[in-house]
């Protein structure tokens, strides 16, 4: 769907007209991310992060495909082939550091993208499907990132793989056979490394496919915006191109400066030194920690230290860790407030900021050793995490009195305009800007 006032694709060059008749791909692009897609005029910089996430997927696929040409997925040589890339492959260090830090930057932009969705209520009707597909992408990213971290076959790769696949052994009855089936053995070894490499190569393309669905679903209601008020008239929107291509270009530049700084000047800052020690099944690292982007969930996993009735602590932890992500699928139906944007929800806003701080605390604790007082802090932070989504949001959305909202996006941007209010939708004259 598009708004009735959307620009129409009119190819002028004979070649483009010919192409449009045979395969209207340029028309498709024009309507998807070109001048044919009307977008709310009031999007702030937080709306840059979707494009940045898409850009990072492309960076990861390009660097990853080239790295795969030099990497050897065999437990005997995987570590050395990674060092071969760092030392002997032309610009190999740039590819590998770009890919490793690229994964981190991908998660940074996706986390900002998700928190933007949480604050501005982007998950609410009619955009539930966009949110659901987004959670699917996030899950796929987590799986891809985890398997990618195993590939250098360092100490953290090995022990991370052992701990994470060990989670499945908590499942009653089928747990241990399931873990052995996943690993292709009793512990991570060549079989596991090979399949992780294969899946690590495959999943990004699955992510790309789900991103296409994500954007398709986005184009049905159109983009949300910071007021949460739906588009009412032509004066509420601007064509994606050139307005948002220009804004995204600037955002991409700022992002690339940060990304380049990480790659060239702090490439190991987000990594763990133990992963420069070759995998050794006989020597357990003092502290096994996954990559930073899993830390909040790792903290939740480790927060369950006591058996709860007949449920073993480990199984509780695993259920909670997966539950913490899966509950995001139910978010559109847990938060029933008709008001989308946190801007007009005074009570929700306070809890949102508390959640933001809470997730930071969980992340911080997840990276620290499982000792007191870190475990207790994780437990309190995990309590808030579950309470926020499952208890507080449903209650807040029914008791809250929202603040007055603007009538339209145009009004939010230009101030109240009586003519704009009186004119029927679709025929509103563009107010002088």
């Amino acid at each position: 769907m598009s708004f009735p006032w959307a620009n129409h694709y009119q190819p002028k060059a004979p070649l483009m007209r010919w192409l449009d008749e045979k395969l209207p791909l340029p028309r498709f692009v024009y309507n998807a991310v070109g001048a044919g897609y009307p977008v709310p005029r009031n999007l702030n910089y937080f709306w840059n992060f979707g494009v940045l996430a898409g850009f990072m997927l492309v960076v990861q696929i390009l660097t990853g495909v080239i790295l795969a040409m030099h990497y050897a997925p065999n437990a005997l040589v995987a570590f050395d082939s990674t060092e071969h890339i760092m030392r002997d492959v032309n610009w190999g260090w740039l590819l590998r550091y770009g890919h490793a830090n690229g994964a981190s930057m991908f998660f940074v932009v996706v986390y900002i993208h998700m928190f933007r969705g949480l604050y501005f209520g982007s998950y609410k009707a009619p955009r539930e499907m966009i949110w659901l597909l987004g959670v699917v992408i996030y899950l796929l990213m987590m799986a891809t990132g985890f398997m990618g971290y195993v590939l250098p076959w360092g100490q953290m790769s090995f022990w991370g793989a052992k701990v994470i696949t060990g989670l499945f052994s908590a499942i009653p009855l089928i747990g241990t056979p399931l873990q052995e089936w996943l690993l292709g053995g009793f512990a991570p070894d060549n079989a596991a490394l090979n399949r992780f490499f294969s899946l690590h190569f495959l999943l990004p393309f699955v992510i790309a496919a789900v991103i296409i669905l994500h954007i398709w679903a986005l184009h049905i209601p159109g983009s949300s915006n910071p007021t949460g008020v739906e588009v009412k008239s032509e004066s509420d929107t601007v064509p994606f191109h050139p307005y948002y291509t220009a804004k995204d270009g600037f955002g991409l530049g700022v992002f690339l400066i940060l990304f380049a700084f990480m790659v060239f000047f702090a490439p190991n800052w987000l990594g763990h030194p133990d992963n420069y020690i070759p995998a050794n099944p006989l020597s357990t690292p003092a502290h096994i920690v996954p990559e930073w982007y899993y830390w909040p969930f790792y903290a939740i996993l480790r927060a369950f230290t006591a058996d709860f009735f007949f449920i073993p602590a480990k199984l509780m932890g695993v259920m909670a860790m997966f539950g913490a992500i899966l509950l995001l699928f139910f978010l559109p139906w847990l938060d029933t407030s008709p008001v989308r944007s946190g801007k007009y929800r005074p009570l929700f806003r306070k809890f949102f900021y508390l959640l933001l701080v809470d997730v930071f605390i969980l992340g911080w604790m997840g990276g620290l050793p499982a000792e007191e007082p870190y475990v207790m802090i994780s437990q309190i932070a995990s309590i808030y995490y579950f309470a926020h989504f499952l208890i507080i949001l449903p209650i807040v959305s029914s008791i809250e009195r929202p603040e007055p909202m603007p009538f339209s996006i145009t009004e939010a941007v230009l101030g109240k305009d009586d003519k704009a209010v009186l004119a029927p939708p679709g025929s509103a004259p563009a107010p002088a800007a």
């Binding site: 005029r41 060239f264 909670a320 309590i383």
Partner: protein, 279 residues
């Protein structure tokens, strides 16, 4: 329906977490964790300033050459450097003839061309640094059951890499009397050496650096004191761990400069496109 189910699930997780929290708090009160010698006496690495530090860091080839000399004459007796090839030494300012001579001074594993039996031959520039022990069992047997780790990546494989190496090499000392008083069971065992910069405080490696006379530095170099040799070998290990570090910094600045200019232009384009749209 979703909300009722959600609230119930939420209460379930909150209850389970509260139970864990209560149990943990009870344990913490009834059985407070007793301090350990490792926890009380471990020291964080000392500060070490090297030419390769920071965003402008480059390699100080002269220092790294001295560090290489320390490695070759002291460390190489027990520690391998398996990821570094002799050809890499050209990056340190050695010319081709010097590299060939250094390589030839090492015996590397070879094959007798007439009988096919394993033997050794002088190294070539394409060879990697040979290992001091044929296998881990031999390494253990010769070192009181501890395998001397490979040093190629040491400066990246520990927190504060180079500073850790430097602190470890200069940190040997007698066990403090206070430690023995507080933790009588923690006396450094036979064949071990007390070093507060090592995570468990007791290191199998005997103090490897002894001071002037151990290594002779060439003309125009500082005295090879223990401190100086430790610094030099740490600088050398920064290079072995990341030979592309200087190139990375060198490449980074033009890239950043380009991106800053590009972003500035992108900002102007953005302002220009939006100049008559209020938003």
């Amino acid at each position: 329906m979703v909300r009722i189910f959600g609230i119930l699930a939420g209460l379930f997780f909150v209850a389970a977490l509260s139970w864990s929290l209560a149990t943990g708090a009870y344990t913490a009160i009834t059985e407070p964790a007793s301090p350990t010698a490792e926890h009380e006496f471990y020291k964080h690495p000392k500060h070490l300033a090297l030419a390769s530090d920071g965003v402008f860091g480059k390699f100080d080839n002269q220092q790294i050459q001295r560090g290489f000399q320390v490695y070759k004459e002291v460390c190489a007796a027990c520690h391998s450097l398996r990821l570094v090839a002799f050809r890499d030494l050209t990056q340190l300012g050695y010319n081709e003839a010097e590299v060939k001579a250094i390589a030839a001074s090492f015996q590397v594993p070879g094959v007798d061309p007439n009988t096919g039996e394993a033997n050794t031959r002088p190294g070539l520039a394409i060879d990697y640094f040979p290992k001091p022990y044929p296998n881990d069992i031999a390494a253990r047997a010769a070192n009181n059951n501890a395998i001397p780790p490979d040093l190629s990546l040491m400066a990246k494989a520990r927190h504060d890499g180079a500073a850790y190496v430097y602190s470890l090499l200069t940190g040997y000392q007698a066990q403090p009397a206070k430690l023995l008083k507080e933790f009588p069971d923690s006396k450094t065992g036979p064949g071990l050496h007390y070093n507060p910069y090592f995570p468990n405080l007791n290191l199998a490696m005997a103090p490897p650096l002894s001071g002037p006379g151990q290594v002779t530095y060439g003309e125009g170099n500082p005295q090879p004191t223990v401190d100086q040799m430790a610094k030099d070998v740490s600088a050398f290990l920064v290079w072995t761990a990341e030979p592309k570090l200087a190139k990375r910094h060198q490449t980074g600045w033009p890239v950043l400069l380009f991106l800053i200019v590009l972003t500035g232009l992108a900002y102007l384009a953005y302002q220009n496109v939006w100049r008559d749209k209020k938003h």
